[in-house]
């Protein structure tokens, strides 16, 4: 069974994650790299945009927005939403997932991959949010 039954369910979780990490070191690095990263998910279909370039209304390092179509981004990672869940929960070997074709990347991938070491705290937040919502 799919991890998320609707885009809304996944978006609610990621919105809460974004609120908690928008001032984190990972978000700061995204801003320093001036990167806009998109995650394009299928089943359910939606796009997550993590924007470290545009100014935010509250002065945080980045914004996370959700879309139906792919907005302009420096790099995009396309996968099923199930694989997206694996990424956010920290259960994905990213280079292997790229090699296997589970994730298809386009754009400034080298820049984006530099952020990988900063991601584990985000995984913890994601897993905590899911646990709090009774989704684990």
């Amino acid at each position: 069974m799919a991890t998320y039954q609707s885009a809304e369910e996944f978006i609610e979780v990621l919105s809460e994650v974004a609120d908690q990490v928008k001032n984190s070191p990972a978000a700061k690095s995204l801003q320093e790299a001036s990167l806009v990263v998109a995650f394009v998910y299928r089943h359910p279909d939606f796009v997550v945009l993590m924007d470290g370039r545009s100014p935010t209304h509250d002065g945080s390092y980045m914004s996370m927005t959700f879309h139906q179509d792919l907005p302009e981004a420096d790099v995009s990672f396309e996968s099923s939403a199930d694989v997206g869940h694996q990424f956010w929960s920290g259960h994905m070997d990213i280079p292997n997932a790229l090699a296997r074709g589970q994730v298809k990347a386009k754009g400034a991938i080298t820049k984006a991959l530099k952020l990988i070491p900063l991601l584990p705290p985000l995984y913890d937040v994601y897993n905590q949010v899911r646990q709090k919502r009774g989704l684990n």
Binding site: M1, A2, R42, H43, S79, S80, D82, V83, Q86, L98, A99, R100, G101, Q102, K104
Partner: protein, 366 residues
Amino acid sequence: MQAAVLVDANEALQIVDVNLDKPGPKEVLVKMAAAGVCHSDWHVMQGDLPVPLPAILGHEGAGIVQEVGAEVVGVKPGDHVVLSWIPSCGHCFYCLKGRPDMCDEAFNIQLSGSLPGHAMRLHWAQGPLYHYLGTSCFAENTVVPDTGVIPIDAAIPLNKAALVGCAVTTGFGAVVHSAQVGPGDSVSVIGCGGVGLNVIQAAKLAGADPIIAMDANGKKRGLAEKFGATDFVDAAETDDLITPVIDLTKGRGADFAFEVIGRKETIEAAYGMVRKAGMAVIVGVAPPHMDVSFNAFSFPSQSKILTGSWYGQSIPRLDIPRILGLYQRGKLNLDDLVTQSYSLEHINDAFHELTEGTVGRGIIEF
């Protein structure tokens, strides 16, 4: 005689009276007993596989020899035979290299819609009818090249033997010849139709474990398990087929993955679910215009082997009797492959049910 004619793509088959010439010097006239209903015929009916039309389809059949040409030595009237849709010439580069599945002459026959020497033995009121894969066995009788008939033990029911003309040999050969699966190898199989089930049972016969079957029709679970699958993934419930295989193979990926559908997504997934230095075997026949994409860095860094298997890379004259021998000794299950039989008049119902995924293998009985 009656036959099922495909006049044009995206049309139903027409059951009509057609005429059949006497066999040429190196040809054999076979009275059909049974013919399997295969997705490849359906692809032709949908226009996905271009062949000359109008034609009589059907490429998986068995029957009894009625008449032979003057130069035929391998079979005689009364012999029970399975048709082979690769009537390999025996003297081209590929035949001499031991790869009759790649025979140039057989390939030309497949494309040209004729028999060797451009012979056309089928006619109807409107003119000549094209042959299909040198077999055209959706007909009460057919004329085929002598290289396309394989004599078999007359004790074997022809409605079981027919399936060895394609589905069984293709699945069996993909495992035994193309992949050479060994005891304890992990195997994943995407698609549990007539060919996929035979990949599964050949993998079981080879000692593979686990054997992970996948299909978008959850109802195939029972059949897949009956033929030897140890695990089943319902592809309708996730479009990530790779993770379940990783999970079931100690995090490595399968030693061998077999794609038996012919879709872009599943071909890419088959490559992705194989372990480093493992092998993905594409058995499913995709439309000629389809492209697939793979991560280029993975070719050197993961050193996987990506290959195809056409008719199970088989040598029909050796493999068809071998497979039927395994059936007679209870090692291969042909009895449960046929889940529905139809008369020629109901052949369009057979294709409808094939596309609904409600049958393992349907068969036309004459």
